[in-house]
Amino acid sequence: MQKIGVFVCHCGTNIAATVDVKKVVELVRYEPGVVYADDYMYMCSEAGQEKIIEAIKEYGLTGLVICSCSPRMHEKTFRACAEKAGLNPYMVEVANIREQCSWIHKDKEEATKKAVILARAAIAKVNLNTPLKEGESPVTKRALVIGGGIAGIQTALDIADAGYEVDIVEKEPSIGGRMSQFDKTFPTLDCASCILTPKMVEVNQHPNITLYTYSEVEKVSGYVGNFEVDIRKKARSVDADKCTGCGECSAKCPLGKIGNIPSEFDRGLRNRPAIYMPFAQAVPAVPVIDRENCTYFKTGKCGVCAKICPSKAVDYEQQDEIVTVKYGAIVVATGFDIINLDKFGEYAYNESPDVITSIELERLMNAAGPTGGHLERMSDHKQPKDIVFIQCVGSRCDSEEKGKPYCSKVCCMYTAKHAMLIKDHWPDTNITVFYIDVRTPGKNFDEFYRRAVEQYHVNYIKGQVGKVMPQPDGSLLVQAADLLDGKQIRMKADMVVLAAAIEPNPDVRKIATMLTASIDNNNFLTEAHAKLRPVESPTAGIFLSGMAQGPKDIPETVSQAGAAAVKVIGLLAKDHLKTNPCTAQCDTLLCNGCSTCANVCPYGAITYDDVQVMDHGLRETRRVAQVNLALCQGCGACTSACPSGAMDLQGFSNRQITTEVDAICR
């Protein structure tokens, strides 16, 4: 029989305002096994913990029930407290009477009743708890960063500088990501390439960093400290060791002129050859052959690039290669894209080449872009005189079919940037920005926006644009609302720029599934705690960096990338990790070898073995399940799936759970 102490926390008024704490104490005092019950203002405080330790010693407690907040919040605290007093930490149960009781109920009587029930269930469970011991697992001192944009680059550099080995997997032929497409960056207007390229080169030359470009993560197994990842290195068709990056092949590829292959990097604003580097400063400076479009791969004829290559680096026979590498930690930095604008027919994006997205404008303003940095209309190559910017296209929408419910966060600032850059180059341009709200929280951000208004005389109008109508004379007629002046406006524009909502890179779903990392309704990766653990996934060993976690600008991305690196370094610095002792066990006498558990196990922790058993005097060979304790994460899927009751989870045994249910239903 256990000797159980019950401690009920007030959590200030968080619990006590809705739950009659004293009454809970009185009602659970006579539950089977309870020898001590008390309440305290803040159980997690030092004084509260002292109270628990004293009670353990004075009453010889063998089990604890803490009625407080969610175990996700303070289970660790109370387990450590028990351990201090010499009690096995797994003899502690937390009854969540805050998040699951006081916070969600209004009626004090009802809430008190529920708190008592939750406490009773926990007491019933502790009666069956057994001391558990944590095991140890080694840590592979190497990290994987998925995504080679500014987020991935910064995380990798920080980890590598701390002395650990890092691999970056990037699916494009070059690292650099979205930032490499930008012209200038707000609010200081530094040139994006000027600040990014040195970092790209540093990544390439860092002795601790290995780059896998034109590569994708194919399979992930294992667990924190011991991941095993298959990386598919797609065939570049160019031998990276021989290639000098001279660019002759791209220059001579016949499809460069006649191929009509839109350049992904230039958002389709110009064409590229079939053998190409996305941009001049690509890292690595090794081209790839786009096999879907290459004439040689389609017809077997051509072969110009192989003939012309001075270092004989072109290799049409190259095959995809799969490498398997072990990692201790994985960082997801898969970044973002903008939404598809097909749903916004009213803005005529698909009708007129002069209606462009902001990211296309970045390319048009970039000196290395398709127009050499000269802003011109794609229809007639004339310089636009009147430009209209439309904010919040697909952001802040109510329903999924309209767009995204969130604010994309960066558009207000980059639109002010675009307006000022255009006015700087071509001061006689008229710029009108239609906005719903101008949101500029950030250091020197509002000053930046005000500069656009006060110094550059950019015309900001509060009101959304209703429709954009391409006119026979090649101009665009914009019909909009001016809500502050109470007018409907019709104005002509030469160019319309849409601030399209950003969304996580669509590949993140696939990657999150492989990593069992959770994502939210908008496909952004979820943090372990929105405030206190913002760069960690709830899945141990998985870390978050950049836009994959939520909309953010470059300064924020770089800060977050550094934060993720620190968490990774903290993990890799350990030689061993404590493993969760709450793992599954198979009772081989009950197991009938049906494979149900192996089929539901998300971690591949269950295998089968033939064992000899004596069944009523008969020697038999039986196929039974075996759990690899290093892989088991204690999710309990197998225990609920097992038809014969052979699978059981330590710390959450079938018997403990049914007893809890009994206590609730009593």
């Binding site: 802040r396 309209k402 509060k462 209703g466 409907q488």
Partner: protein, 131 residues
């Protein structure tokens, strides 16, 4: 005006329109889209705030409800799914009821409905043929 119970009128508008004026974020896309803008005394984006404030008398005196072409542009383009056109139409229906001008008994209507016919199309048709 004969109505004293503003709250019940507001509820009625919400019920008829099936839309939630509190979702409006004042972006003005409805007003920017409206082909009858110049003729409307209450502009499309204002309907939500009139209903939220409970300015029912103004809505009942408004001519705007009869200037609406029921083109559905505001309903289609509203990013917040407020569907201003439905609010406009609800205001119009209230005015009609006020006038006691229901020529048809409500229970007769369902028989006349085709399943895939938008309810508002029917209403706007009624409106036109009654002139």
């Amino acid at each position: 005006m004969g109505f004293t119970n503003v709250e019940s009128q507001v509820e009625l508008i919400k019920e008829i329109s099936g839309s939630d004026p509190y979702k409006c974020m004042k972006c003005g896309k409805c007003t920017a889209s409206c082909p009858s803008y110049d003729e409307m005394d209450i502009k499309p984006h204002q309907f939500a705030s009139y209903i939220i404030r409970g300015d029912i008398d103004e809505l009942l005196e408004s001519k705007a409800a009869f200037k609406c072409l029921a083109c559905f542009a505001c309903i289609e383009r509203c990013p917040r799914d407020v569907q201003p056109g439905r609010l406009v139409d609800a205001a119009r229906q209230l005015q009609e009821r006020q006038r006691g001008g229901d020529y048809m008994q409500p229970e007769e209507v369902p028989e006349l409905l085709a399943e895939d016919l938008p309810q508002q199309l029917l209403v706007s048709a009624f409106r036109r043929y009654r002139r």
